[in-house]
Point group: C2
Chain length 155, copies 2
Amino acid sequence: MTATGISIRRATRDDVPAIVRMLADDFLGKDRERPDEPLPQSYYDAFERVDADGNLQLVVAVDSMGLVVGSLQLCVLPGLSSQGATRALVEDVRVDGKLRGQGVGEALLRWAIAESKSRGCHLVELLTSRARVDAQRFYVRLGFVESHAGMTLRL
Amino acid sequence: MTATGISIRRATRDDVPAIVRMLADDFLGKDRERPDEPLPQSYYDAFERVDADGNLQLVVAVDSMGLVVGSLQLCVLPGLSSQGATRALVEDVRVDGKLRGQGVGEALLRWAIAESKSRGCHLVELLTSRARVDAQRFYVRLGFVESHAGMTLRL
């Protein structure tokens, strides 16, 4: 099912508080985010870094009222392997907790896949926490395969 | 064990053939690369895209004779999550087949971890094919945990 009335657009600085609320409203995010008012400057600084980089696109899903109900970040990554093919990396997919299962995530991912194609990528890749079992099922339904181990090192 | 006499430096255009030979000398890479002479232009075009991007670093490991014996690509990825923390993504780690198990990969990864720290990243992440069982053990030995599923979609 794809949500009706959902559209995807580039995030602006004014969307940062809504995005951070979604990042914090999450069983993994709740301990690592600070959705205070005013929002810590570090979030706005990060937005500026993302917004200035032509290979990064932070987008939001908005409902028919214009409210932000989801977000993700797409990274276009050139590289030498596969005859110099460019890859896309999807990061930080989040959907408003009240709207889970209503197609917002699917609308976001379908946008990311179409955008990756239009930018000449041959592959979309992502890491999703082992704890997000529902997310893994969701990605498989969209055609992803769990072909890789996702490994992390905290610094 | 860390290889003696190995140093890590930024890749130049002249290193592209040696990097492609390593990409092709691999059970997954052999069917998707074309290490012909002359090398397909697509590899040089990809090198230019990588080299022009301040958030991407393609590096090579060189031995005491100056020969290229390994390579990897480090991507520095700003983003909003974790209070606007920047992540690093390691891609396309390759070591000359004749030098496996001699510390070249470890030298490359230790460089990537140190560089990620110096650029303010809070996390290093990577995807490694489920088929690369030895690689997964190698990353665990360096402190990585298999915290995530690595999912891909071919376009």
